[in-house]
Amino acid sequence: MRLRKGLNDRLLSWKMSGGFKQTVADILERSSRNSMVVIGMTLIIVIVALALLAPVLPIADPTPSELFLEDRTLPPSSDHWFGTDELGRDVFSRVIWGARVSLTVATLAVVFSLMIGVVLGLTAGYFGGVVDYIIAGTIDLFWTFPAFLLALAFAAALGPSLANVILAISISYWAGFARLMRGQALSVRERQYVEASRALGAKNIRIMFAHVLPNCLSPLIVWASVGVADAITIESSLSFLGVGTQPPTPSWGYMLFRGIPFLEEAPWIATFPGLVLLITILGFNLLGDGLRDVLDPRMKGMRR
Protein backbone atom coordinates (compact mmCIF):
# COMPACT_ATOMS: atom_id res chain seq x y z
CA MET A 1 0.00 0.00 0.00
CA ARG A 2 2.82 2.30 0.88
CA LEU A 3 4.32 1.68 -2.51
CA ARG A 4 1.08 2.51 -4.24
CA LYS A 5 0.77 5.65 -2.19
CA GLY A 6 4.30 6.61 -3.18
CA LEU A 7 3.47 6.08 -6.81
CA ASN A 8 0.30 8.12 -6.46
CA ASP A 9 2.23 10.92 -4.84
CA ARG A 10 4.69 11.03 -7.67
CA LEU A 11 1.91 10.91 -10.20
CA LEU A 12 0.19 13.73 -8.39
CA SER A 13 3.26 15.91 -8.36
CA TRP A 14 3.81 15.21 -12.04
CA LYS A 15 0.21 16.13 -12.77
CA MET A 16 0.54 19.28 -10.72
CA SER A 17 3.61 20.26 -12.67
CA GLY A 18 1.37 20.12 -15.73
CA GLY A 19 1.61 16.44 -16.64
CA PHE A 20 2.05 15.22 -20.17
CA LYS A 21 0.94 18.45 -21.82
CA GLN A 22 3.48 20.43 -19.86
CA THR A 23 6.28 18.00 -20.71
CA VAL A 24 5.49 18.26 -24.41
CA ALA A 25 5.20 22.03 -24.19
CA ASP A 26 8.54 22.11 -22.41
CA ILE A 27 10.26 20.06 -25.12
CA LEU A 28 8.69 22.18 -27.86
CA GLU A 29 9.85 25.33 -26.11
CA ARG A 30 13.43 24.10 -25.82
CA SER A 31 13.36 22.84 -29.41
CA SER A 32 12.28 26.20 -30.73
CA ARG A 33 15.38 27.72 -29.18
CA ASN A 34 17.67 25.14 -30.81
CA SER A 35 18.72 26.47 -34.20
CA MET A 36 19.52 23.00 -35.58
CA VAL A 37 16.00 21.75 -34.85
CA VAL A 38 14.44 24.90 -36.31
CA ILE A 39 16.48 24.82 -39.54
CA GLY A 40 16.13 21.06 -39.95
CA MET A 41 12.38 21.17 -39.31
CA THR A 42 11.90 24.04 -41.77
CA LEU A 43 13.71 22.15 -44.54
CA ILE A 44 11.69 19.00 -43.84
CA ILE A 45 8.35 20.84 -43.72
CA VAL A 46 9.03 22.50 -47.09
CA ILE A 47 9.98 19.22 -48.77
CA VAL A 48 7.15 17.24 -47.19
CA ALA A 49 4.59 19.94 -48.06
CA LEU A 50 5.75 20.00 -51.69
CA ALA A 51 5.64 16.21 -51.83
CA LEU A 52 2.14 16.02 -50.31
CA LEU A 53 0.78 18.78 -52.54
CA ALA A 54 2.35 17.40 -55.74
CA PRO A 55 -1.00 16.21 -57.22
CA VAL A 56 -2.67 19.60 -56.78
CA LEU A 57 0.28 21.86 -57.60
CA PRO A 58 0.17 23.44 -61.06
CA ILE A 59 3.19 21.49 -62.29
CA ALA A 60 3.77 19.39 -65.38
CA ASP A 61 3.01 15.67 -65.48
CA PRO A 62 6.18 13.86 -64.26
CA THR A 63 5.46 10.78 -66.38
CA PRO A 64 3.60 12.05 -69.44
CA SER A 65 2.16 9.32 -71.66
CA GLU A 66 3.10 11.37 -74.69
CA LEU A 67 6.66 12.68 -74.94
CA PHE A 68 7.49 15.96 -76.63
CA LEU A 69 11.00 15.31 -77.81
CA GLU A 70 11.39 18.81 -79.25
CA ASP A 71 11.28 20.02 -75.62
CA ARG A 72 14.22 17.87 -74.52
CA THR A 73 17.19 19.29 -72.58
CA LEU A 74 15.73 22.80 -72.38
CA PRO A 75 17.67 24.96 -69.90
CA PRO A 76 15.92 26.29 -66.76
CA SER A 77 13.39 29.01 -67.59
CA SER A 78 10.17 30.43 -66.20
CA ASP A 79 8.27 27.57 -67.87
CA HIS A 80 10.60 24.86 -66.60
CA TRP A 81 12.27 26.00 -63.36
CA PHE A 82 14.81 23.18 -63.35
CA GLY A 83 14.85 22.71 -67.15
CA THR A 84 13.75 19.57 -68.96
CA ASP A 85 15.38 16.15 -69.16
CA GLU A 86 16.57 14.09 -72.13
CA LEU A 87 12.99 13.03 -72.90
CA GLY A 88 11.53 16.51 -72.61
CA ARG A 89 9.98 16.00 -69.15
CA ASP A 90 9.92 18.81 -66.61
CA VAL A 91 12.76 18.24 -64.09
CA PHE A 92 11.15 20.36 -61.34
CA SER A 93 7.98 18.31 -61.45
CA ARG A 94 9.95 15.04 -61.44
CA VAL A 95 12.02 16.21 -58.47
CA ILE A 96 8.85 16.95 -56.48
CA TRP A 97 7.21 13.66 -57.40
CA GLY A 98 10.53 11.97 -56.61
CA ALA A 99 10.29 13.41 -53.09
CA ARG A 100 7.07 11.43 -52.57
CA VAL A 101 8.86 8.21 -53.49
CA SER A 102 11.98 8.89 -51.41
CA LEU A 103 10.07 10.04 -48.33
CA THR A 104 7.58 7.17 -48.48
CA VAL A 105 10.27 4.53 -48.87
CA ALA A 106 12.44 6.04 -46.14
CA THR A 107 9.60 6.54 -43.67
CA LEU A 108 8.19 3.04 -44.14
CA ALA A 109 11.65 1.48 -43.93
CA VAL A 110 12.35 3.33 -40.68
CA VAL A 111 8.93 2.40 -39.25
CA PHE A 112 9.51 -1.29 -40.03
CA SER A 113 13.08 -1.23 -38.67
CA LEU A 114 11.81 0.57 -35.59
CA MET A 115 9.11 -2.04 -35.00
CA ILE A 116 11.47 -5.00 -35.41
CA GLY A 117 14.16 -3.26 -33.37
CA VAL A 118 11.87 -2.21 -30.51
CA VAL A 119 10.23 -5.62 -30.10
CA LEU A 120 13.49 -7.59 -30.27
CA GLY A 121 15.58 -5.12 -28.27
CA LEU A 122 12.94 -4.72 -25.59
CA THR A 123 12.46 -8.47 -25.24
CA ALA A 124 16.20 -9.10 -25.04
CA GLY A 125 16.93 -6.34 -22.57
CA TYR A 126 13.88 -6.88 -20.37
CA PHE A 127 14.05 -10.66 -20.01
CA GLY A 128 17.81 -11.12 -20.05
CA GLY A 129 19.24 -14.63 -19.72
CA VAL A 130 19.12 -17.07 -22.62
CA VAL A 131 16.62 -14.96 -24.57
CA ASP A 132 18.97 -12.02 -24.38
CA TYR A 133 21.96 -14.14 -25.33
CA ILE A 134 20.32 -15.34 -28.55
CA ILE A 135 18.75 -12.05 -29.57
CA ALA A 136 21.79 -9.94 -28.65
CA GLY A 137 23.98 -12.25 -30.73
CA THR A 138 21.71 -11.81 -33.74
CA ILE A 139 21.62 -8.06 -33.23
CA ASP A 140 25.42 -7.92 -33.11
CA LEU A 141 25.68 -9.97 -36.28
CA PHE A 142 23.45 -7.61 -38.23
CA TRP A 143 25.00 -4.56 -36.60
CA THR A 144 28.50 -5.53 -37.75
CA PHE A 145 27.31 -6.36 -41.25
CA PRO A 146 27.47 -3.26 -43.46
CA ALA A 147 23.89 -2.05 -44.01
CA PHE A 148 24.42 -0.84 -47.54
CA LEU A 149 25.91 -4.14 -48.76
CA LEU A 150 23.08 -6.08 -47.14
CA ALA A 151 20.47 -3.85 -48.73
CA LEU A 152 22.24 -4.13 -52.08
CA ALA A 153 22.37 -7.93 -51.86
CA PHE A 154 18.66 -8.20 -51.02
CA ALA A 155 17.56 -5.63 -53.56
CA ALA A 156 19.60 -7.37 -56.27
CA ALA A 157 18.22 -10.77 -55.38
CA LEU A 158 14.57 -9.79 -54.88
CA GLY A 159 14.50 -7.77 -58.05
CA PRO A 160 13.86 -4.05 -58.29
CA SER A 161 10.55 -2.81 -56.89
CA LEU A 162 9.47 -0.27 -54.28
CA ALA A 163 8.36 -2.92 -51.79
CA ASN A 164 11.65 -4.80 -52.14
CA VAL A 165 13.66 -1.64 -51.53
CA ILE A 166 11.70 -0.99 -48.34
CA LEU A 167 12.22 -4.60 -47.28
CA ALA A 168 15.94 -4.49 -48.09
CA ILE A 169 16.50 -1.29 -46.09
CA SER A 170 14.47 -2.58 -43.12
CA ILE A 171 16.41 -5.86 -42.99
CA SER A 172 19.70 -4.02 -42.99
CA TYR A 173 18.76 -1.20 -40.63
CA TRP A 174 16.79 -2.68 -37.71
CA ALA A 175 19.84 -3.73 -35.68
CA GLY A 176 20.68 -0.13 -34.73
CA PHE A 177 17.26 0.36 -33.13
CA ALA A 178 17.39 -3.03 -31.44
CA ARG A 179 20.81 -2.29 -29.95
CA LEU A 180 19.65 1.03 -28.61
CA MET A 181 16.41 -0.39 -27.22
CA ARG A 182 18.18 -3.31 -25.55
CA GLY A 183 20.64 -1.03 -23.80
CA GLN A 184 17.84 1.21 -22.57
CA ALA A 185 15.69 -1.70 -21.43
CA LEU A 186 18.64 -3.19 -19.53
CA SER A 187 19.12 -0.01 -17.55
CA VAL A 188 15.44 0.80 -17.05
CA ARG A 189 14.30 -2.63 -15.85
CA GLU A 190 16.21 -2.25 -12.60
CA ARG A 191 14.49 1.03 -11.72
CA GLN A 192 12.14 1.23 -8.79
CA TYR A 193 9.02 2.08 -10.72
CA VAL A 194 9.41 -1.11 -12.78
CA GLU A 195 9.88 -3.10 -9.62
CA ALA A 196 6.86 -1.34 -8.14
CA SER A 197 4.57 -2.20 -11.01
CA ARG A 198 5.79 -5.77 -10.92
CA ALA A 199 4.97 -5.88 -7.21
CA LEU A 200 1.50 -4.59 -8.05
CA GLY A 201 1.03 -7.61 -10.30
CA ALA A 202 1.42 -6.03 -13.73
CA LYS A 203 2.06 -8.47 -16.56
CA ASN A 204 5.45 -8.49 -18.28
CA ILE A 205 4.04 -7.29 -21.55
CA ARG A 206 2.32 -4.37 -19.83
CA ILE A 207 5.48 -3.39 -17.95
CA MET A 208 7.50 -3.57 -21.17
CA PHE A 209 5.23 -1.42 -23.28
CA ALA A 210 3.65 0.84 -20.67
CA HIS A 211 6.66 1.53 -18.45
CA VAL A 212 9.95 0.57 -20.06
CA LEU A 213 9.24 1.72 -23.63
CA PRO A 214 8.07 5.28 -22.80
CA ASN A 215 11.28 5.83 -20.88
CA CYS A 216 13.35 4.98 -23.94
CA LEU A 217 11.49 7.26 -26.34
CA SER A 218 13.97 10.15 -26.52
CA PRO A 219 16.91 8.25 -28.04
CA LEU A 220 14.52 6.36 -30.33
CA ILE A 221 13.13 9.61 -31.72
CA VAL A 222 16.65 10.91 -32.33
CA TRP A 223 17.68 7.72 -34.09
CA ALA A 224 14.52 7.58 -36.16
CA SER A 225 15.20 11.07 -37.49
CA VAL A 226 18.78 10.25 -38.42
CA GLY A 227 17.50 6.90 -39.73
CA VAL A 228 15.22 8.60 -42.25
CA ALA A 229 18.26 10.48 -43.57
CA ASP A 230 20.22 7.22 -43.85
CA ALA A 231 17.30 5.41 -45.50
CA ILE A 232 16.95 8.20 -48.08
CA THR A 233 20.68 7.88 -48.81
CA ILE A 234 20.42 4.09 -49.22
CA GLU A 235 17.29 4.33 -51.38
CA SER A 236 18.81 6.90 -53.70
CA SER A 237 22.07 4.93 -53.92
CA LEU A 238 20.17 1.75 -54.81
CA SER A 239 18.14 3.62 -57.42
CA PHE A 240 21.32 5.17 -58.75
CA LEU A 241 22.78 1.68 -59.20
CA GLY A 242 19.61 0.53 -60.94
CA VAL A 243 18.30 -1.87 -58.27
CA GLY A 244 15.95 0.56 -56.52
CA THR A 245 12.93 2.44 -57.78
CA GLN A 246 12.28 1.62 -61.42
CA PRO A 247 11.44 4.02 -64.24
CA PRO A 248 9.15 5.62 -65.16
CA THR A 249 8.51 6.30 -61.44
CA PRO A 250 10.54 9.43 -60.74
CA SER A 251 13.35 8.79 -58.26
CA TRP A 252 16.20 11.11 -57.33
CA GLY A 253 18.90 8.46 -57.56
CA TYR A 254 17.86 7.24 -60.98
CA MET A 255 17.44 10.80 -62.30
CA LEU A 256 21.03 11.54 -61.29
CA PHE A 257 22.23 8.37 -63.01
CA ARG A 258 20.41 9.27 -66.22
CA GLY A 259 21.84 12.78 -66.07
CA ILE A 260 25.51 11.75 -66.19
CA PRO A 261 25.80 11.30 -69.99
CA PHE A 262 24.21 14.75 -70.41
CA LEU A 263 26.54 16.59 -68.02
CA GLU A 264 28.10 18.72 -70.74
CA GLU A 265 24.96 19.38 -72.70
CA ALA A 266 22.37 19.69 -69.91
CA PRO A 267 23.99 19.77 -66.45
CA TRP A 268 20.66 20.67 -64.78
CA ILE A 269 19.33 17.12 -65.21
CA ALA A 270 21.86 15.74 -62.74
CA THR A 271 22.39 18.76 -60.48
CA PHE A 272 18.90 19.78 -59.31
CA PRO A 273 17.69 16.37 -58.07
CA GLY A 274 20.96 16.05 -56.14
CA LEU A 275 20.52 19.46 -54.56
CA VAL A 276 17.05 18.59 -53.27
CA LEU A 277 18.37 15.22 -52.10
CA LEU A 278 21.15 16.95 -50.16
CA ILE A 279 18.70 19.43 -48.61
CA THR A 280 16.39 16.61 -47.48
CA ILE A 281 19.19 14.52 -45.96
CA LEU A 282 20.63 17.62 -44.31
CA GLY A 283 17.21 18.47 -42.86
CA PHE A 284 16.78 15.10 -41.18
CA ASN A 285 20.39 15.04 -39.93
CA LEU A 286 20.02 18.52 -38.43
CA LEU A 287 16.72 17.59 -36.80
CA GLY A 288 18.29 14.46 -35.31
CA ASP A 289 21.38 16.26 -34.01
CA GLY A 290 19.30 19.09 -32.59
CA LEU A 291 16.74 16.81 -30.94
CA ARG A 292 19.55 14.87 -29.32
CA ASP A 293 20.80 18.03 -27.66
CA VAL A 294 17.27 19.00 -26.61
CA LEU A 295 16.01 15.63 -25.36
CA ASP A 296 19.13 14.21 -23.82
CA PRO A 297 22.20 16.39 -23.34
CA ARG A 298 24.15 13.36 -22.09
CA MET A 299 24.08 11.83 -25.58
CA LYS A 300 26.02 14.75 -27.05
CA GLY A 301 28.69 13.56 -29.43
CA MET A 302 27.63 9.91 -29.20
CA ARG A 303 26.88 9.51 -32.85
CA ARG A 304 29.79 8.65 -35.05
Binding site: P146, S237, L263
Partner: protein, 313 residues
Protein backbone atom coordinates in the same frame (compact mmCIF):
# COMPACT_ATOMS: atom_id res chain seq x y z
CA UNK B 1 50.15 -8.66 -22.58
CA UNK B 2 48.39 -11.98 -21.95
CA UNK B 3 45.07 -10.18 -21.61
CA UNK B 4 45.67 -8.49 -24.96
CA UNK B 5 46.32 -11.82 -26.66
CA UNK B 6 43.19 -13.41 -25.22
CA UNK B 7 41.20 -10.32 -26.19
CA UNK B 8 42.45 -10.55 -29.78
CA UNK B 9 41.64 -14.26 -29.97
CA UNK B 10 38.15 -13.61 -28.60
CA UNK B 11 37.55 -10.91 -31.19
CA UNK B 12 38.77 -13.14 -34.02
CA UNK B 13 36.41 -15.89 -32.88
CA UNK B 14 33.54 -13.39 -32.83
CA UNK B 15 34.30 -12.36 -36.42
CA UNK B 16 33.67 -15.89 -37.70
CA UNK B 17 29.85 -15.88 -37.25
CA UNK B 18 29.66 -12.56 -39.10
CA UNK B 19 31.56 -14.02 -42.04
CA UNK B 20 29.26 -17.07 -41.92
CA UNK B 21 26.27 -14.73 -41.99
CA UNK B 22 27.78 -13.11 -45.08
CA UNK B 23 28.07 -16.48 -46.81
CA UNK B 24 24.49 -17.34 -45.80
CA UNK B 25 23.15 -14.06 -47.18
CA UNK B 26 25.08 -14.51 -50.38
CA UNK B 27 23.77 -18.08 -50.67
CA UNK B 28 20.21 -16.96 -49.93
CA UNK B 29 20.44 -14.46 -52.79
CA UNK B 30 20.09 -17.33 -55.25
CA UNK B 31 17.19 -18.78 -53.30
CA UNK B 32 15.33 -15.49 -53.20
CA UNK B 33 15.78 -14.75 -56.87
CA UNK B 34 12.47 -15.33 -58.61
CA UNK B 35 12.41 -18.07 -61.24
CA UNK B 36 13.75 -21.60 -61.45
CA UNK B 37 17.23 -21.65 -63.03
CA UNK B 38 16.69 -25.18 -64.36
CA UNK B 39 13.46 -24.25 -66.16
CA UNK B 40 15.25 -21.19 -67.53
CA UNK B 41 18.12 -23.11 -69.16
CA UNK B 42 16.08 -26.03 -70.53
CA UNK B 43 14.12 -25.80 -73.79
CA UNK B 44 10.36 -25.29 -73.25
CA UNK B 45 9.44 -28.80 -74.47
CA UNK B 46 11.61 -30.54 -71.81
CA UNK B 47 9.76 -33.20 -69.83
CA UNK B 48 9.43 -33.31 -66.05
CA UNK B 49 11.87 -36.23 -66.02
CA UNK B 50 14.48 -34.19 -67.90
CA UNK B 51 14.09 -31.32 -65.47
CA UNK B 52 14.36 -33.70 -62.55
CA UNK B 53 17.51 -35.24 -63.96
CA UNK B 54 19.18 -31.87 -64.36
CA UNK B 55 18.11 -30.80 -60.87
CA UNK B 56 19.77 -33.91 -59.51
CA UNK B 57 22.90 -33.23 -61.56
CA UNK B 58 23.33 -29.73 -60.12
CA UNK B 59 22.22 -30.81 -56.66
CA UNK B 60 19.12 -28.61 -56.62
CA UNK B 61 17.00 -31.52 -55.36
CA UNK B 62 18.90 -31.75 -52.10
CA UNK B 63 17.78 -30.13 -48.85
CA UNK B 64 18.74 -26.52 -48.21
CA UNK B 65 21.30 -27.31 -45.54
CA UNK B 66 23.15 -29.81 -47.75
CA UNK B 67 23.29 -27.32 -50.60
CA UNK B 68 24.57 -24.61 -48.27
CA UNK B 69 27.18 -26.98 -46.84
CA UNK B 70 28.45 -27.79 -50.32
CA UNK B 71 28.54 -24.08 -51.12
CA UNK B 72 30.67 -23.47 -48.02
CA UNK B 73 33.03 -26.30 -48.93
CA UNK B 74 33.56 -24.81 -52.37
CA UNK B 75 34.22 -21.39 -50.84
CA UNK B 76 36.83 -22.90 -48.54
CA UNK B 77 38.66 -24.10 -51.64
CA UNK B 78 38.52 -20.60 -53.07
CA UNK B 79 35.93 -21.56 -55.65
CA UNK B 80 33.26 -18.87 -56.05
CA UNK B 81 31.76 -20.30 -59.21
CA UNK B 82 31.97 -19.07 -62.77
CA UNK B 83 30.68 -15.90 -64.31
CA UNK B 84 27.59 -16.24 -66.51
CA UNK B 85 27.84 -12.82 -68.16
CA UNK B 86 28.27 -12.83 -71.92
CA UNK B 87 31.60 -10.96 -71.97
CA UNK B 88 33.23 -13.05 -69.23
CA UNK B 89 31.41 -16.37 -69.70
CA UNK B 90 32.83 -19.25 -67.61
CA UNK B 91 35.67 -17.14 -66.20
CA UNK B 92 36.24 -17.97 -62.52
CA UNK B 93 34.72 -15.31 -60.27
CA UNK B 94 37.85 -15.44 -58.12
CA UNK B 95 39.95 -14.52 -61.18
CA UNK B 96 37.66 -11.58 -61.92
CA UNK B 97 37.92 -10.43 -58.31
CA UNK B 98 41.69 -10.68 -58.33
CA UNK B 99 41.79 -8.45 -61.39
CA UNK B 100 39.51 -5.85 -59.86
CA UNK B 101 40.60 -5.84 -56.22
CA UNK B 102 43.86 -3.87 -56.64
CA UNK B 103 41.92 -1.05 -58.30
CA UNK B 104 39.50 -0.81 -55.38
CA UNK B 105 42.29 -0.97 -52.81
CA UNK B 106 44.17 1.79 -54.61
CA UNK B 107 41.08 3.96 -54.61
CA UNK B 108 40.38 3.28 -50.93
CA UNK B 109 43.98 3.95 -49.89
CA UNK B 110 44.08 7.34 -51.59
CA UNK B 111 40.59 8.14 -50.31
CA UNK B 112 41.69 7.33 -46.75
CA UNK B 113 44.82 9.45 -47.13
CA UNK B 114 42.75 12.38 -48.33
CA UNK B 115 40.18 12.06 -45.57
CA UNK B 116 42.82 11.95 -42.82
CA UNK B 117 45.02 14.67 -44.23
CA UNK B 118 42.00 16.96 -44.49
CA UNK B 119 40.15 15.86 -41.35
CA UNK B 120 42.94 15.89 -38.75
CA UNK B 121 44.35 19.39 -39.38
CA UNK B 122 40.87 20.82 -39.84
CA UNK B 123 39.67 19.28 -36.58
CA UNK B 124 42.65 20.65 -34.64
CA UNK B 125 42.21 24.06 -36.25
CA UNK B 126 38.54 24.08 -35.34
CA UNK B 127 39.10 22.96 -31.73
CA UNK B 128 41.74 25.62 -31.08
CA UNK B 129 39.31 28.29 -32.19
CA UNK B 130 36.23 26.89 -30.45
CA UNK B 131 33.03 28.89 -31.02
CA UNK B 132 34.69 31.42 -33.31
CA UNK B 133 33.23 32.05 -36.76
CA UNK B 134 36.06 29.94 -38.20
CA UNK B 135 35.08 27.00 -36.01
CA UNK B 136 31.44 27.45 -36.96
CA UNK B 137 32.19 27.52 -40.68
CA UNK B 138 34.18 24.31 -40.35
CA UNK B 139 31.25 22.70 -38.53
CA UNK B 140 28.79 23.81 -41.24
CA UNK B 141 31.16 22.37 -43.84
CA UNK B 142 31.26 19.02 -42.03
CA UNK B 143 27.44 18.92 -41.77
CA UNK B 144 27.07 19.44 -45.51
CA UNK B 145 29.94 17.12 -46.47
CA UNK B 146 28.48 14.40 -44.27
CA UNK B 147 25.00 14.69 -45.74
CA UNK B 148 26.29 14.92 -49.32
CA UNK B 149 25.39 11.78 -51.28
CA UNK B 150 28.66 10.57 -52.80
CA UNK B 151 27.28 10.12 -56.29
CA UNK B 152 26.06 13.69 -56.41
CA UNK B 153 29.40 14.98 -55.12
CA UNK B 154 31.10 12.93 -57.84
CA UNK B 155 28.86 14.45 -60.48
CA UNK B 156 29.52 18.00 -59.23
CA UNK B 157 33.30 17.43 -59.17
CA UNK B 158 33.14 15.99 -62.68
CA UNK B 159 31.15 18.98 -63.85
CA UNK B 160 33.61 21.43 -62.33
CA UNK B 161 36.97 19.86 -63.13
CA UNK B 162 36.28 17.97 -66.35
CA UNK B 163 33.48 19.80 -68.09
CA UNK B 164 34.06 23.44 -67.13
CA UNK B 165 37.75 23.62 -66.31
CA UNK B 166 38.86 20.69 -68.46
CA UNK B 167 41.71 19.88 -66.03
CA UNK B 168 41.02 16.27 -65.15
CA UNK B 169 39.65 13.20 -66.80
CA UNK B 170 36.12 12.31 -65.86
CA UNK B 171 36.11 8.59 -66.47
CA UNK B 172 38.17 5.45 -66.69
CA UNK B 173 41.33 4.20 -65.07
CA UNK B 174 43.84 4.92 -67.81
CA UNK B 175 45.07 8.37 -66.90
CA UNK B 176 47.08 7.48 -63.76
CA UNK B 177 47.01 10.09 -61.03
CA UNK B 178 44.79 12.60 -62.80
CA UNK B 179 42.05 10.00 -63.19
CA UNK B 180 42.14 8.71 -59.62
CA UNK B 181 42.05 12.08 -57.90
CA UNK B 182 38.35 12.83 -58.49
CA UNK B 183 36.99 9.43 -57.40
CA UNK B 184 39.31 9.40 -54.38
CA UNK B 185 38.24 12.90 -53.41
CA UNK B 186 34.58 11.92 -53.75
CA UNK B 187 35.14 8.86 -51.62
CA UNK B 188 37.23 10.67 -49.01
CA UNK B 189 35.22 13.83 -48.38
CA UNK B 190 32.35 12.36 -46.36
CA UNK B 191 34.79 10.55 -44.13
CA UNK B 192 36.90 13.70 -43.85
CA UNK B 193 33.86 15.36 -42.32
CA UNK B 194 33.53 12.61 -39.71
CA UNK B 195 37.26 12.71 -38.96
CA UNK B 196 37.12 16.49 -38.51
CA UNK B 197 34.30 16.22 -35.98
CA UNK B 198 36.00 13.45 -34.04
CA UNK B 199 39.36 15.20 -34.05
CA UNK B 200 37.73 18.41 -32.87
CA UNK B 201 35.92 16.87 -29.92
CA UNK B 202 38.93 14.75 -28.96
CA UNK B 203 41.21 17.81 -29.07
CA UNK B 204 38.75 19.85 -26.98
CA UNK B 205 38.69 17.14 -24.38
CA UNK B 206 42.48 16.81 -24.18
CA UNK B 207 43.24 20.52 -24.03
CA UNK B 208 41.02 20.83 -20.94
CA UNK B 209 43.08 18.36 -18.98
CA UNK B 210 45.36 19.31 -16.11
CA UNK B 211 48.64 18.29 -17.67
CA UNK B 212 48.08 20.72 -20.53
CA UNK B 213 47.36 23.55 -18.11
CA UNK B 214 50.47 22.57 -16.18
CA UNK B 215 52.63 22.65 -19.34
CA UNK B 216 51.23 26.07 -20.19
CA UNK B 217 51.87 27.39 -16.70
CA UNK B 218 55.47 26.27 -16.97
CA UNK B 219 55.74 28.67 -19.88
CA UNK B 220 56.01 26.20 -22.74
CA UNK B 221 55.27 27.88 -26.07
CA UNK B 222 51.65 27.21 -27.12
CA UNK B 223 52.83 25.67 -30.39
CA UNK B 224 54.85 23.07 -28.54
CA UNK B 225 52.04 22.34 -26.05
CA UNK B 226 49.62 21.63 -28.87
CA UNK B 227 51.84 19.87 -31.39
CA UNK B 228 54.06 17.89 -29.03
CA UNK B 229 51.81 17.07 -26.12
CA UNK B 230 48.09 17.55 -26.82
CA UNK B 231 48.00 16.24 -30.37
CA UNK B 232 49.73 13.01 -29.42
CA UNK B 233 46.91 12.04 -27.07
CA UNK B 234 44.05 13.56 -29.02
CA UNK B 235 44.90 11.76 -32.24
CA UNK B 236 44.74 8.28 -30.71
CA UNK B 237 40.94 7.75 -30.69
CA UNK B 238 40.78 9.17 -34.20
CA UNK B 239 43.27 6.83 -35.79
CA UNK B 240 42.06 3.76 -33.95
CA UNK B 241 38.78 3.97 -35.85
CA UNK B 242 40.60 3.75 -39.18
CA UNK B 243 39.30 0.17 -39.37
CA UNK B 244 35.68 1.30 -39.02
CA UNK B 245 36.21 3.74 -41.87
CA UNK B 246 36.70 0.76 -44.16
CA UNK B 247 32.98 0.00 -43.78
CA UNK B 248 32.15 3.50 -44.96
CA UNK B 249 34.58 3.20 -47.85
CA UNK B 250 33.32 -0.19 -49.01
CA UNK B 251 29.75 1.10 -49.34
CA UNK B 252 31.02 4.30 -50.92
CA UNK B 253 33.28 2.47 -53.37
CA UNK B 254 30.36 0.68 -55.04
CA UNK B 255 28.68 3.97 -55.83
CA UNK B 256 31.78 6.07 -56.57
CA UNK B 257 33.31 3.47 -58.90
CA UNK B 258 30.04 3.39 -60.83
CA UNK B 259 29.96 7.18 -61.17
CA UNK B 260 33.50 7.35 -62.52
CA UNK B 261 33.52 3.99 -64.36
CA UNK B 262 36.46 3.00 -62.19
CA UNK B 263 36.98 -0.72 -62.90
CA UNK B 264 37.15 -2.01 -59.34
CA UNK B 265 35.05 -4.48 -57.37
CA UNK B 266 32.25 -1.93 -56.87
CA UNK B 267 31.89 -1.38 -60.59
CA UNK B 268 31.92 -5.16 -61.05
CA UNK B 269 28.89 -5.45 -58.73
CA UNK B 270 26.90 -2.89 -60.70
CA UNK B 271 27.68 -4.36 -64.11
CA UNK B 272 27.08 -7.89 -62.83
CA UNK B 273 23.69 -6.95 -61.42
CA UNK B 274 22.61 -5.49 -64.75
CA UNK B 275 23.98 -8.57 -66.57
CA UNK B 276 22.18 -10.90 -64.12
CA UNK B 277 25.61 -12.41 -63.39
CA UNK B 278 24.73 -13.70 -59.92
CA UNK B 279 27.90 -15.69 -59.19
CA UNK B 280 29.92 -12.51 -59.69
CA UNK B 281 27.55 -10.44 -57.50
CA UNK B 282 27.81 -13.07 -54.78
CA UNK B 283 31.61 -13.09 -54.94
CA UNK B 284 31.88 -9.30 -54.80
CA UNK B 285 29.49 -8.91 -51.88
CA UNK B 286 31.24 -11.66 -49.96
CA UNK B 287 34.69 -10.14 -50.49
CA UNK B 288 33.53 -6.64 -49.56
CA UNK B 289 31.76 -7.97 -46.44
CA UNK B 290 34.94 -9.76 -45.36
CA UNK B 291 36.78 -6.48 -45.80
CA UNK B 292 34.39 -4.71 -43.47
CA UNK B 293 34.65 -7.46 -40.87
CA UNK B 294 38.44 -7.31 -41.02
CA UNK B 295 38.25 -3.54 -40.71
CA UNK B 296 36.12 -3.82 -37.58
CA UNK B 297 38.56 -6.37 -36.20
CA UNK B 298 41.53 -4.07 -36.80
CA UNK B 299 39.65 -1.24 -35.08
CA UNK B 300 38.89 -3.41 -32.04
CA UNK B 301 42.47 -4.61 -31.74
CA UNK B 302 44.01 -1.17 -32.18
CA UNK B 303 41.64 0.22 -29.61
CA UNK B 304 42.53 -2.44 -27.08
CA UNK B 305 46.21 -1.85 -27.77
CA UNK B 306 45.85 1.85 -27.04
CA UNK B 307 43.38 1.64 -24.18
CA UNK B 308 44.11 -1.28 -21.81
CA UNK B 309 40.75 -0.90 -20.06
CA UNK B 310 38.97 -2.33 -23.11
CA UNK B 311 40.72 -5.68 -22.88
CA UNK B 312 39.06 -6.55 -19.61
CA UNK B 313 35.51 -5.89 -20.83
Amino acid sequence: MADLVSYVIRKILLAIPVILLATLIVFLMLYLTPGDPIVAIMPPHATQADLQELRAKYGFDQPFIVQYGKFLMRLLHGDMGQSVARSTLNVDVSTLLMQRLPKTLELMAIGLTISYSVGIPLGVFSALRQNSWKDRSVMVFTLIAYAMPSFWLGILLMLLFSVYLGWLQAEGTVGGFSSIILPALTLGLGNAALTTRMMRSSMLEVTRQDYITQLRSRGLPEREVILKHALKNAILPVITVIGLDIGWFVAGAVVVETVFSWSGVGMLITTSISNHDFPAVQGCILVLAIFVVLGNLIADIMYAFVDPRVRLG
